[in-house]
Structures are given as C-alpha cells and as structure tokens.
C-alpha cells in the first residue's frame, strides 16, 4: 500500500529505499505494542490498514512489493528468500482468488481444502479468513466458536506458526496443506519471511493479542511431537475458550447468586473430612489455572543447550552478556520461525533455530518493550557494524552478506541469519567495549570470534570474501540507521576497487601490532560514527549541538560527517543514477568548492571561528553551499568517505582522487582513525599524500597557525582543519603534486597516527556519546551537559601535541573515553552511584552499554543485585523468562513496569560487571602482555 503506482516515475532505488524504510517503521510499530499498548492500539495507522488481509489488495501489494525489493540492490544476494516472496505473492494471489470463489460456495471449497485436514471447519475458517475482512471473520469466529475455536486450534502442522499467522497467511498455508509436510513448512517459512511488516498479522492488534496468547499457550519447550503439542494445546485452548465464553456470557454466570449467602460456624464431621482433603486446592486450580507452561527449569535447560552450542560455557560476565544475547536473539529470531529454508544448513549450528524446530513460537516483537528498543534494533545494527569491523580485524572478516542483506530487507521476519549475526554482534559489542578501553584482553572474546568466524566461513563458503567485505563496509553506513542509504550502498560497494582497498587495509593492520590498537580504535570510531550518523539522521539540530561542543576543527569534522550522513542518501541516489557521473559531479563539486574555498583559507577559518560561537554547522554548510552553489550532497559525500570505514567503498568508486581529497577534507579524523596513510592502498596513498602534502605544505600550515597557533608541522598536518582539507581538495583538483610535501606528510602521518587516532577517537566517542543520549532518550540536545563533552577539549590539546603517544597513554586516553562513555566508576557500585530522579517517570538519559543498545540509568536494585547474584544459568533463565512474561500484552501495567525495570536493572548489572571484569583484565594485561594477545588474535585468524 505504501507504494502505489504513481511512484513509478521515481527511481526504483528510491522506491525500494522507501519501502525498506516503511518496513522498518512497521517493525518499530510492531515492537511498540507494549507498555503504551493502549495508546498504540489506537494508532490510526495500525488500526485499519492492518485489520485484515483484504483479498486482492494485499496480494497486489505483495506483488508490487517484490520487485522493489528485488531491484533494491540486493541482487547479488537475492537468494531463496526473495524467491520465496515472489512465490508468496503468487500464492497469495491464487489463494485469494480461490477464496473469493469460496466465499460464495464455502462448502465446496472447504471440502476440497479439507481433504487433507482433520476438520472441515478449520479449513473453512481459514479460507474465509483470507478473503473476508474483519467483521466477517468475527462472525465466522463466533459461529464456529462453539465447535472449535479456530484461533486456538490451528492445524497441527501449523502449530509452529501459531494461530494468527496461520490465519492471516492462511491463503498459502491452506494451499500448501495439501502438499507434503516439508513443502508446507517451506512455503510457510517463506511466507513468514516475506510478509511485509505492515501486513504482518502481528501488526493487527487483535491478531497480535491472539498471537501472543496463543504463543504463551503453545510454549511447550520440550515437546517436539506435534501430536502431543496439539493435544495439549487443544485442551488448553479448549479450556480457555470455555472460560472465555463463560466470561462473555458471564453475566448470567455472575448473576448467579453469590455462594456467600450461606455460612457455617462449625463443620459437621463428615463435612470436615471432606473439607480437610483439599477443597481450596481444587478450587483455586481452575481459576488461576496454568497460564504458564514454561518453567524456569525448562528455560534453563534450553538456554544451556543454546549456549553450549554456541560454545559459551564460561561463567564470567562476558559470557553471560553474550548468552543473554543469545537468548534475546532466539526470542527475536523465533519470529522468523519458518525461514529455515535459506539457512537450513546452518540450523544445526546455531542455537536459535532450536526454537524453530521445537515449534516454540515467541511473539514477534522483542520483549523488552520500551521503544528504546526500537533503537535496539538500530543499535544492534550498529553493533553489527562494529562486529563487522571486529571480525575483520582479527580474521580479515568473513561475513555473510546474505545475512546482512536479509537483515535490512526484512528485518522483522527474516531473522534466522540475524540470529547468527546478532549472535555475532554480541561479540563485537563486548569486543568493542574492550577495545575502547584499549585493553586487548578479550582473549575469550577473541576465541569466540574465532569460532564464530570459522563458523561463518563454513556457512558462507558460497560467498566471495571480497563481496562480503564490500558488503560489510557498505553495511556500516547502512546499519547506521539510514535504511535507504543502506540499500544503496551495497550497489556501490560492488566496485572492486573498494574491496581491494579494504583488504589492503586489513592486511596492513594485521601486520602491525601497534596498528592493532589503532585498528581497535578505528573500530570504535567506526561504531561511533555510525551512531553519530543515526543521530544525525534523526535531527540535524542535534548535530549542531554536538558539533558545538567539539573544538572548531573537530567540530567541523563532526559536522562534515553529520552532513554527509544526512545528505549521503541523496548522494547515493545520484551516484546510482548517474554512475560515473558521480565522479564528475564530485569533481565539479570540489571545483566549486575550491572556488569558494579559494576565496581564502581565512574564510574557512572564519567559518570555523563562527562555528565556535556555537553557530550551527548546518549554517556553515549553507554558507558554503550558497557560496559554492553546491548542494549538500557534495559536501556530504566527501565526508562520507571520510567516515572511511563505512564509506570507503564509495571513495574508491569515486576514485582515489576523491578519496584523497576526501581524506584530507575528511579531517584528520579519518587519517588518524584509519591511519589511512598506512592502511590505504599504497599507490593511492602515495598519490593522495603527495597531493595533499603539497597543498598542505602551503595551505595547511598557514591554516593551522591561524587557527590553533600551533607551529608544529606535524601538528598542523595532523590537525589540519577542514578548511585545509578543502583547500587541499581544491588543489588536488588542480592536480598539483608536490613530492616533497608528500614525503613529509607520509612520515608525519605514520608518526602521528597513534596520537591522532586517540584524539579522534575521543572526539568521536564524545560526540557519539552526547548524541547518543539524546537520541535514545529524550529529544534534548544536552550536549553541554553530557559527561562526555568536557573531556573533548582536554584531549584535543593532547592530540595537537606532536609526541607520539605510548600505548599506555593511549590506554589511558581510551580509558578516559570509556569512562566518559560509561559513567559508572570501576568498582562495586554503591547507592551513592545511583542518581535518583527528582520525580517519578522523569525523562531518562539512556547511556550506551556493552549490549549495543542504550540502558537506562542505574537504579538501586542494580546495586542490590550485586550482592545477590544467582548462579549464572539461573539468572539467564530468569531474564529469559521475563522476556516471555513481558510479551503477554494482558499483563497489567504494574507488572509490565516491574518486569521491564527488573530487566533493565539486570542488564545494568551485567553491563557493569562486564565493565569491571574488563578493567580487571586490563590490569592484568598491563602487567602481562596485552599486545601479544591481541596480535595473536589477529594473526590467528588469518581471515577469509
């Protein structure tokens, strides 16, 4: 529905991007039916559109939807899933038509369909369901209610899918019913995979409720035999229907006079005997009857299995955190129950599929239900990115492009791979965390990553490493939030140049142990960058605030990045459309820009100074734009590249030149973070360096002197501001190459890489942090108040200082940043650490966690829980159980709140213990050989 034909004239890519965006929105909505469920139930968007599959309408949508996705850049990875969707669409069409006819003659169709089915009424309801709208359904339902409640008694084969799904997608399912089991499952899985989010039954509130209820009732963790499941479920559901009916007709029941009319002061002896047996027990049983079939024990066992399969057997905090994720993922992933097709081979390897196998269905949304967790998805993606980087650093990275793609295309439902991925993501998250602290500790994590990588390799043999790399790179921006961007990026990535580039980089990085640290820092920066991007996307105002905090140079860089992010989409579009033209444009852009810039390096400085007074970056940009007459895109595009990690492919595409320009412009950030000089392909690097250096030699120093007053060549070069870079770019266009300078710069870069990396990292982190909090929590800009902000200025000077920092320094800095990011002290928490809000339910400031999604502030309970830890498996089971509990929408608000608070408190607990452990290992590492460990890790995983 979102896309109509009128959109045809728009580029397909754009449409695809939009559809993806829509998808994401719907997923968010899905996840949102939670604490605010009442409000959300009234969401106008949800209410009607989703209310029922309206025959042909949806079918056509589906059909139209397919091409979008198909075209949408995932070509390389189309895979079965896409086919699945197409099939699905077709099926749907057929089915709907079928059912249309069936409407008039229910009996006949029913009979036909019912051949294989146990009960006519089932098929009947199914068919009718497809065609008719909600009211019809209801009538139907009521009519059938007595005989059987279709909601609660789906066919045994469908059990996995749970009632609502079978209903909404029943079209296909019923057709496939006739087929053999496997096929049936397959088609179902595909359907599940590719139902668009806005049409997914779960979005429809009542369906959703049912789904959840159903799920809860069907949750028999152990039971694999469908018959057992079925019978049990049937009895349960039967019970439930009974109860429901009694409640509905309950008036009459209630009208029955109260039993309290009679009283006793004594029990006659016989009565007494009777009474003594267990009247109350029997009495109470039915009323509060077993809503919950899942016990902690079950969950514990299941989780243990899961984590064992994942190779997590330790009991330390890191493992705990990861296993938590495993659990989470399984929850989320189980949504995509049916998708086993694509990943059938992987099923055995990854735990989460176990749930699929056992028919364990879990509500589609993530059960931590504050919409903060919408961000969770996003964050996870960012974390994914981190992971990507991570994996790259050790192993050279083998990632399954498919999975990534799948994530983006059909986040909500196509989750099997995501399982793997996210599972991975845990790694990166923790690793990243560690890396920030600059401890190379994480031996365990490294091992783990090794395992994972190996697994990935096995699974992903098909894919070319290079492509995967490219994908990763592309993904990082994608993950960064911009879905449109994400889709576009992949296409761009295809360019071989980029791939090579990234590879080279990796190799280089791997060789140098020192660089490892830098690498890690890069990783962190990368993640930070993504976060920044996200925020930037959200609101430009935030960007401005963030940039304000940073010193002018950094500010600029930040602003550049942000701008880049925001406009990047456009750029991408243009790129895609125009292909090679993009380069030209860029060239033009640079020229124009150069012209504007050429007005004087001073201008740039001025602009920076203006910025200092807290002029919004955007303004700056505007100025520049107006001056240059260039669109934002151009501005952004270079910066994007500057982001480097994510955008490198693009850069490559655009050619070395752009890259270099870009790099220079990029602000030292890129250079430092990436150590571009070293990391980049030699040829290009040289070239770029020369160009840059030449320009820099003249302009940069000048600019630096003016801006900072730093006379150091190195400093100037390292810290050369955007304006410099701009100039350089201009110069580049002129193609003036000064070898002398280039040499100088090279040396400089190599020397300074460490220091610069640190500073940049810090800056980025800070920006990230500041942005992050508002992003996740409230809309407030709060950059000045954010804890991260103060350190920024402090560190900048250090960065500007020429001396190459030792590793210890680096560590310290990293730690500082870490602490900035993680506000809690590295010790056992006390009540003093808890900031109590002055009023209830006051806006919370979410802080980043090792989990990849923001956590609310510390509460007292977390402090208390520190003294009352339970065995790790119990804790995990409890946490998991709370997911399940929270997924019951009928739970009263009080319980929901308590549960979510409890879960957050626990996550905080884990997060902090993780932090403590990290620090501990860090100390150990200082004493011992952290570097060794790290380098080993890197070397060990030779990669692809």
């Amino acid at each position: 529905m979102p896309m109509s034909k009128r959109d045809k004239r728009k580029s397909e890519v754009l449409i695809a991007a939009q559809s993806l965006d829509q998808e994401v929105k719907h997923v968010k909505n899905l996840k949102r039916l939670s604490i605010g469920s009442m409000d959300l139930l009234m969401d106008p968007e949800l209410e009607y559109r989703v209310s029922s599959r309206q025959g042909t309408g949806t079918a056509t949508d589906q059909d139209t939807g397919t091409p979008y996705i198909a075209t949408s850049s995932i070509k390389t990875e189309t895979t079965k899933s896409e086919q699945g969707e197409q099939e699905y669409g077709n099926d749907d069409n057929q089915e709907t038509q079928l059912s249309h006819s069936s409407l008039s003659e229910d009996d006949t169709t029913t009979a036909g369909a019912a051949v294989e089915e146990e009960d006519d009424s089932y098929s009947f309801t199914d068919d009718s369901m497809d065609v008719t709208n909600a009211e019809y359904l209801d009538k139907d339902a009521q009519a059938n209610m007595i005989n059987n409640n279709y909601r609660h008694e789906p066919l045994p084969r469908r059990r996995v899918l749970s009632g609502s799904i079978s209903r909404s997608i029943s079209g296909t399912s019923s057709t496939s019913d006739g087929n053999d089991e496997s096929k049936h499952n397959e088609s179902l899985g595909q359907n599940l995979l590719w139902v668009r989010a806005d049409q997914h039954p779960n979005v429809k509130p009542e369906n959703y409720l049912e789904l959840v209820q159903n799920t809860l009732e069907n949750m028999n963790l152990g039971g694999r035999s469908p018959t057992a499941n079925e019978t049990q479920a049937q009895s349960l559901s039967g019970l439930k229907t009974l109860r429901k009916r009694s409640m509905q007709s309950g008036n009459s029941l209630a009208r029955r006079p109260s039993r309290l009319r009679t009283s006793y002061t004594e029990l006659s002896e016989d009565d007494e005997d009777k009474g003594m047996t267990d009247q109350p027990l029997a009495a109470a049983a039915p009323t509060m009857s077993s809503r919950r079939t899942v016990s902690l024990k079950d969950i514990t066992e299941e989780l243990t299995k899961l984590s064992n399969q994942a190779g997590l057997t330790d009991t330390d905090a890191v493992t705990l955190a990861r296993t938590l994720w495993v659990a989470d993922e399984s929850t989320t992933d189980s949504t995509g129950q049916g998708l086993s097709n694509n990943l059938a081979d992987e099923e055995e390897e990854f735990a989460s599929t176990m749930f699929t196998k056992s028919g364990f269905t879990v509500p589609a949304r993530h059960s931590l239900r504050r919409s903060k967790f919408n961000t969770y998805r996003i964050q996870s993606s960012s974390s994914k990115e981190e992971r990507i980087i991570e994996t790259r650093s050790p192993s050279g990275s083998n990632n399954s492009p498919n999975s990534i793609i799948g994530l983006y295309n059909d986040e909500p439902f196509n989750e099997k791979k995501p399982i793997v991925q996210e599972f991975f993501s845990t790694l990166p998250a923790s690793d990243d965390f560690e890396s920030e602290s600059s401890t190379e500790d994480a031996e365990s994590s490294a091992d783990f990553s090794n395992e994972v990588s190996s697994e990935l390799e096995t699974t992903d043999k098909q894919r070319i490493n290079e492509t995967s790399k490219s994908w990763r790179w592309s993904q990082s921006p994608t993950t960064s939030n911009d879905y449109q961007q994400a889709q576009y990026v992949p296409k761009e990535n295809i360019a071989p140049l980029k791939i090579n580039h990234s590879r080279n980089r990796h190799n280089i990085a791997a060789t140098n142990s020192e660089r490892n640290t830098s690498e890690t820092s890069i990783n962190t920066t990368g993640s930070a960058a993504t976060v920044v991007t996200q925020t930037s996307i959200d609101t430009s105002s935030k960007e401005t605030s963030n940039t304000q905090e940073i010193k002018p140079e950094k500010r600029r860089s930040a602003s550049m990045n942000l701008d880049h992010d925001t406009t990047s989409i456009e750029v991408n579009d243009k790129k895609l459309k125009k292909g090679n033209h993009g380069q030209n444009k860029f060239m033009k852009f640079f020229k124009k820009r150069s012209s504007s810039a050429s007005s004087g390096g001073k201008i740039f400085k001025e602009s920076t100074t203006e910025n200092l007074p807290s002029m919004p970056i955007e303004r700056e940009l505007k100025k520049k734009q107006s001056g240059s007459g260039l669109s934002n895109k151009f501005w952004i595009s270079p910066k994007k590249q500057s982001k480097s990690e994510s955008g490198k492919e693009e850069q490559l595409k655009h050619k070395d030149r752009i890259k270099f320009e870009y790099e220079k412009e990029k602000k030292q950030k890129e250079k430092r973070t990436k150590k571009k000089p070293s990391l980049q392909p030699a040829v290009t690097v040289v070239k770029s360096n020369r160009q840059v250096s030449g320009e820099l030699g003249t302009v940069n120093y000048y600019a630096d002197d003016k801006t900072k007053g730093n006379t150091h060549n190195q400093q100037s070069s390292s810290s050369f501001s955007k304006s410099n870079s701009n100039r350089t770019s201009d110069y580049e266009e002129d193609d003036v190459e000064v070898t002398e300078f280039s040499v100088h710069e090279d040396s400089f870069t190599s020397v300074h890489s460490n220091s610069s990396v640190n500073t940049f990292k810090d800056a980025i982190l800070q920006t990230d942090h500041s942005q992050d909090s508002p992003y996740s929590g409230t809309s407030s800009t709060s950059s000045p108040s954010s804890p991260a902000s103060p350190p920024a200025p402090m560190q900048i000077p250090s960065a500007s200082t020429p001396p190459p920092p030792t590793q210890q320094q680096e560590q310290e800095q990293a730690q500082g940043t870490l602490e900035n990011q993680y506000p809690l002290p590295p010790r056992k928490l006390t009540f003093a650490d808890v900031l109590k809000p002055d009023r209830p339910n006051s806006p919370m400031k979410f802080t980043d966690s090792a989990f990849g999604f923001p956590l609310p502030p510390l509460t007292i309970s977390t402090v208390i829980m520190f003294d009352h830890r339970l065995p790790i498996h119990v804790e995990r089971a409890i946490y998991r159980l709370s997911h399940l509990k929270l997924s019951d929408p009928k739970r009263v608000l009080r319980q929901q709140v308590l549960l979510s608070n409890f879960m957050y408190a626990y996550l905080n607990l884990v997060n902090h213990s993780l932090y403590l452990q990290q620090i501990e290992e860090e100390h150990m590492g200082n004493n011992g050989s952290m570097n060794m460990g790290n380098s080993n890790a890197l070397i060990d995983i030779p990669d692809m």
Partner: protein, 452 residues
Amino acid sequence: MSQHGFDFKFSQCFGDKADIVVTEADIITASEFDHTGDYLATGDRGGRVVLFERNNTKHCEYKFLTEFQSHDAEFDYLKSLEIEEKINQIKWCRPTNQSHFLLSTNDKTIKLWKIYEKNIKLVSDNNLSEGNKDYHRRSAGNGSARAVLSLQTLKLPKLSLHDRIIAAAPKKIYSNAHTYHINSISLNSDQETFISSDDLRINLWNLDIPDESFNIVDIKPANMEELTEVITSAEFHPQQCNAFMYSSSKGTIKLCDMRQNALCDYRAKVFEEYLDPISHNFFTEITSSISDVKFSPDGRYIASRDYLTVKIWDINMDNKPLKTINIHEQLEERLNDTYENDAIFDKFEVAFSGDSSSVMTGSYNNNFMIYPNVVKTGDYQAPTGMDEIVLQADKTAFKSKRLSSLQQQSARNKEWGDEIDFKKSILHFSWHPRENSVAIAATNNLFIFSAL
C-alpha cells in the same frame, strides 16, 4: 479493643465448604467493614457485591444481608479493551437516613450505591376487588355489575405491607476518568469527596458530581517508554481532609497536601528507606514494590506492604520506618518460584486494627498474620506473649478452633515445609473497626475470625 486480647478464633465461614470447583466469578476480590463494623461488604470477580449484617453482638457473627450486581463486563470499543467486572475495591460511606452508601469500583468505573430497606406494599383492597365480590355476589343473585359502582362505594385502595427487602440502587456513576486501571479509591474524611487512583493518576471527585473530577496526581511520562513507576495504592488521611498519600512501585510512599498545589505530585513528603542491600534479594526491583498502604485510624502511622515485608512508618519520620516486619522468610529462598509462577506480583493488602496498634496482612497457604501491638502507642500493653499470630483461613480453622492454643497454631501454620500453595493467597481482608475481628477473603470463602 486491645484489652480483648488477640485470642483469635475462627468464627464463621461463608461460601461453599465442599470441595467443588471454584468458579472464577466467585473469587472474592474485596472485603470491607463499614465504620461501625455492623456491616461487611465483599466484592467478587463476577462484579457482585455481597453485604452482611451483624447478627449477634456477642459472638461476632454476620448474616447475609443482600447482594447486587455492581459492575458488568464491558467492552471498550474505542480502545478494543475488555473491561472486567471484577470489583477492585469497596468503600463505605457514612449512612444517612437509614440508608447505607458505598462506593465500588472495577478497573474503570466507580459507582455509588445506595443500600436501603425498602418496604414493598401491595394493594390489598380496591374498589374493583370489592366490586368483583359484589359482582359475584350479585351475579349469583340477579343484576348487573354496573350498578355496584355507585359513588358511595368508591374509596381509596388500601396498601398493605407485603414485604421488606434490602434494595441497592446505583446513585452515581463516576466513569470515563481513568485511562488505566483503578487500583484504589478512598473516601475523604469530610465525606464529600473521594479520590480514585489508577496506575498513573489520582483523581479527586465530589460525591455529588459524577461527571467531573480533578486530577491531583499525574505521573504519566510524556513518553510512555520512560515509564518506570506506577501508583499502586492511594488513601486519604483519616482525619485531615487535605492530606492523602499514595504508594508507588518503586517502594516509596508520598504524602501530599492538596492545599499546596492543584497538582500534588511535586512537593510531597516521601517516605523512603535507605535500603540495606543485605536484606534484599535478586528480585528487589519487584519485591520492593509497595502493594498496599494504609493510614492507621488515628492518622499517626502508615503501614505499607511490599512483597516480603510490612513497614510501619511514623507520619512524622520519613527517612526510615518505625518497624519492618518480615512477613514470610520462608519465601526468600523460593523467590525464583514465585517469580516463575507470577506470585511475586501478588498484591497483598495490609490492615490496621481499629485502635491503630496492630497490623495484619496476608500470605500464602491461606495464612494470614496478625501483629499485635506492633505500634507502640501510649497505652502500650504488655505483649500477649506473641508478636506474630499466624492463622489459617482454611478448613483447618474449624478444627483448630477447639484444638490447640493460638501459639501452637501459629507455630504450626508457620511451617510451610516445601509445599507452598501460591494459589491460596490471602490478599484481601478487613479489620473490624471496633473490635478484634477480621474478615478474611480466602479465594471464594469469607472467613470471620474474632477474638471476642
């Protein structure tokens, strides 16, 4: 009262005693004595309110008075929400003109009921009946019936008292003011207003004006995703009509003065304890949520109940409770179980005795606890030798009545062994305002225990 001692004995049990399957509708969800203690009301899940009247001043026995359907199940079509008929709370108003008034509420709607004795009179005699007689008579004789209706014979019909019934009529319906589920209502001491509290707001009503209420507490966050705290209970101060308190799921009690502000959620006096981590548990986030809070009848103390403790607060000391009573230590090792079966979310109430010195609360296995004289008031009496009386509102009550002493009972009841029946929880009860008698709602039975 306290001189009555605390020799609580089973007195009466209402409801089925046979081990039949309990209908959900029969589960008692509220019980409340009126301010004289002569009447007792219970509400159940089926939306019915059952009233009892004191039968016998000597032995604290009650008899069934009347019952009426207070609430019906509804469906909110706008929000697609089912509204249960379950009675969440009942509060008695002061009687006027021989009629009793009470407020009853379900999740959304509060109703004011008038309960009164209604004489049903029937026309025992009228013209026609007489005419008929005449007619018959005459028809037996000779003539027409018309002739009978002469002016002289016309007279007013006579009414004669046929029956007396107790009638309940809804006088006011206070609806549409709560978005969330109402958890408590409380009448003001001025008998003109009352408050009703749901998860996020507290509204102030005038009893006479059902279509208007004032929001006096609102903790709803702008963004529901930031919701971390809900209101769990609220009550007016028994003497000062401007003061009320409410408890939150974060374990805090706030005492507010309505004179300060229209919205009272800001400058409240907060009763909150500095927590000793040792005395808590892994589930502290859940168990520290206050499920019920009550003023003592003299207005001096506050009793609050969370999952594992009862705390007595002096209204003048907000930094720590006067006393913290651990209710069921047995449970502490079994919190996992309670969490697993959701028992950890049970909302146990707490009740003060009429003399403000003693407290009672409920537990599992149909146990309830009475803590005699926990509040050391001026007329402090020597403890009766026990600081905790554990009774079982169960069939065993019939037996133990004549068997063992209270101490023995308590000791026995305290031993749960491994078997804890979390379904048999005593959540709702009421303490007679003038004597040591309690009404206990045990699932579908109502037990009266009395020390008289």
